[in-house]
């Protein structure tokens, strides 16, 4: 299935030097720092990293959903056009129609005073030519698709009448409403139990197969990454520190941080496992260590790591790492 990552294809989304800075009273804070990645048509890219590493801000920045005091720089090419500089009117056609986002928090993402039906149908009204009756039918179909029982009856319900997991499904239904070409999913299955989670993941993969929808999948669950993603990128303190195909990264991590994350995942990676906590805490964005941001927690750290910041460099086709000692890390991983 990862044959779709063939380099002959143009990327669906191409992110270059995405940088998001928040002006705070304590000075500017860089939540996303020169992040670059491509997503191919039909590809599922997993974005992993500890809490606060900038995954959600990255997704929001792509869609221009960061508001003051945040500032976004860089380019986000979607079918050759830069989302960050395009006019509001054009952006509107892309948002929700071509690129859809699933927020991390289902409880706050739905408008409390509008029925689920209104919130689904307004998306359809903006991006499809369906008439009223067709929109209603499509809304029922969508709720059904994400596994909401008695979909037709629940159409007139308000968000507070749904449980957390149900709200998450409603949000997924809204995101999928107009058959987006790219889905930005921010931990879309966290509030769901395992059966439903599998069902939603299968739904997303089916849509990928059917419409060659691309997905950027933010998750804490490395099992889910192994199970659903083609490629993965690991974020630390606002930067991507390692990326590559899931198989390669899992079998041979080149960054000590990735290695730490994978530490508890059994070989094969099929088990459902949460990120292991690595010793130490992620740095506060206001005080990112000089040199390699990971050095205070790194077993491999040497003098150089404190003085200079390692650049994200290609070590093989489609394989990037930002670590001075990546070769040693990989060698040690192979030895154990």
């Amino acid at each position: 299935m990862s044959a779709v990552t063939d380099t002959a294809f143009e990327p669906a989304l191409s992110v270059k030097d995405l940088t998001t800075v928040f002006e705070t009273p304590g000075g500017p804070v860089t939540a996303v720092d020169a992040v670059s990645f491509d997503v191919m048509p039909g590809e599922v890219l997993g974005l992993v990293g500890e809490s606060g590493s900038g995954k959600s801000v990255t997704l929001r920045s792509l869609m221009r959903l960061v508001h003051a005091p945040g500032k976004v720089a860089g380019t986000v090419l979607w079918q050759g056009r830069d989302l960050l500089s395009m006019r509001e009117r054009e952006l509107r056609r892309v948002r929700g129609g071509k690129i859809a986002i699933i927020f991390q928090e289902p409880t706050t993402a739905l408008n409390p005073v509008l029925t689920v039906r209104v919130q689904i149908e307004e998306n359809l009204r903006a991006h499809t030519s369906l008439d009223g009756r067709q929109r209603r039918a499509r809304a029922i179909e969508l709720l059904d698709l994400v596994g909401i029982p008695a979909a037709e009856r629940r159409l007139g319900d308000f968000p507070h009448q749904f449980s957390g997991g149900m709200k998450q499904r409603v949000m997924i239904a809204i995101a999928l409403a107009s058959n987006p070409r790219l889905l930005l999913a921010d931990e879309p299955t966290t509030a769901l139990d395992v059966t439903i989670q599998d069902q939603i993941l299968k739904l997303i993969l089916d849509l990928r197969d059917e419409f060659s929808m691309s997905v950027v999948f933010v998750t804490h669950d490395l099992g889910v990454v192994a199970q659903t993603c083609d490629r993965m990128a690991v974020m630390y303190a606002g930067r991507i520190v390692e990326s590559g195909s899931v198989t390669e990264v899992f079998s041979e991590p080149h960054h000590p941080y990735t290695r730490g994350l994978l530490g508890s995942v059994p070989r094969g990676g099929a088990e459902r496992t949460l990120l292991t906590s690595i010793e130490g805490t992620p740095p506060s964005l206001a005080a990112i260590p000089a040199g390699c941001a990971f050095h205070p927690r790194c077993d491999f750290a040497v003098e150089r790591c404190i003085e200079r910041r390692p650049a994200l460099e290609a070590i093989a086709p489609g394989r990037m790492v930002a670590c001075f000692r990546q070769a040693d890390v990989a060698a040690e991983a192979a030895a154990t």
């Binding site: 929001r60 869609m63 959903l65 508001h67 509001e88 952006l91 509107r92 056609r93 892309v94 948002r95 929700g96 129609g97 859809a100 986002i101 927020f103 928090e105 706050t108 993402a109 739905l110 408008n111 409390p112 005073v113 509008l114 209104v118 307004e122 998306n123 903006a126 991006h127 308000f158 507070h160 949000m171 809204i174």
Partner: protein, 312 residues
């Protein structure tokens, strides 16, 4: 469904409220300084006459009996007669109350028309020139007493520019609207300032909400986002405040009616209190209290309609 049962429940609550209002009015009127008999007969009345008048008015009965009679009369629409004007209180209220209602409704509408768009502009240009200008001028409006604003408007637009009449009520609906415009504007200004401030803060609280971002992520037009997602949520608290302000608005109507010589319930109330015309005071207070309770009811329903969580 949820809304209908909410309305039903809310209507039921009106019963104890009205009962409470009746008791309070009954007690208050009897606490007014001076007694009706001396109001009718003058201060140098003979004791025998006072006794006779008190008997006629039923004031010699024990209080519980007086209360029952009071409730019975009100239930049958009999509010008694005015001591000075020699007409039934019911007909006086029917005559004067609509004027006041018209004035306050107009004032409320003007306040809404002024405050909603301006709050919107101020909130979306937060901290910029437009915001500061709007907030500054409303602050001035808020700090000036009603009668003073009324006098200024009256002098400028009435006496000097002759755009509007300087007083009175006029004949026919449109002429009346015309006559009431300046008084209603006077009355509206401070309410508009209060609503503006509240709504501006509410909008600012809502525009950055996640669900508004999610609405943006759907690719909706900003007009749809602003009305359906932002304004609707922001208005919930403002509607509530609006309901609470109606009492204040009626109080302001008393002053405005005096400044502009409008024959409304407010002026009648003042005259009746000075004249110790207690049946009129009693009837009017009751009528105004009912108006206020009904407004509460209305704003509660409106709020429940805007916010489905309220009706739960």
């Amino acid at each position: 469904m949820a809304l209908l049962s909410f309305i039903a429940r809310r209507l039921l609550q009106l019963i104890p409220t009205l009962a409470f209002i009746l008791v309070v009015i009954f007690v208050l009127v009897r606490l007014l300084p001076g007694d009706p008999a001396s109001a009718i007969l003058g201060d140098r009345a003979r004791d025998a006459d006072v006794v006779r008048i008190n008997a006629e008015l039923g004031l010699d009965q024990p209080l519980p009996v007086q209360f029952l009679v009071f409730v019975k009369n009100i239930a049958t629409g009999d509010f008694g007669n005015s001591i000075h004007l020699k007409v039934s209180v019911a007909s006086l209220i029917a005559d004067r109350l609509p004027v006041t209602l018209m004035l306050t409704i107009m004032a409320a509408l003007i306040a809404l028309v002024l405050s909603v768009p301006l709050a919107f502009v101020a909130a979306t240009r937060r901290g910029r020139l437009a915001d500061n200008a709007i907030r500054g001028s409303f602050q001035v409006g808020l700090s000036m007493p009603v009668f003073y604003v009324g006098l200024i408007l009256l002098t400028v637009f009435g006496a000097q520019l002759h755009w509007f009449p300087v007083g009175g009520f006029g004949n026919g609906f449109f002429d009346q609207l015309y006559h009431l415009f300046l008084p209603a504007l006077t009355l509206a200004l401070s309410l508009a300032a209060i609503l503006m401030r509240n709504l501006r803060a509410a909008i600012i609280g809502v525009v950055d909400a996640e669900y508004v971002d999610f609405a943006r992520a759907k690719g909706l037009r900003s007009r749809v986002i602003m009305t359906r997602h932002v304004l609707r949520n922001a208005l919930i608290s403002t509607i509530n405040l609006f309901g609470l302000q109606v009492g204040t608005l009626l109080g302001g109507a008393v002053i405005t009616e005096t400044v502009f010589a409008i024959p409304g319930a407010g002026r009648l109330m003042i005259e009746s209190i000075y004249g110790r015309d207690y049946p009129v005071v009693q009837g009017l207070t009751l009528a105004l209290a009912v108006v206020v309770s009904l407004t509460f009811l209305l704003t509660d329903i409106l709020q429940a309609w805007l916010d489905p969580r309220v009706a739960q």
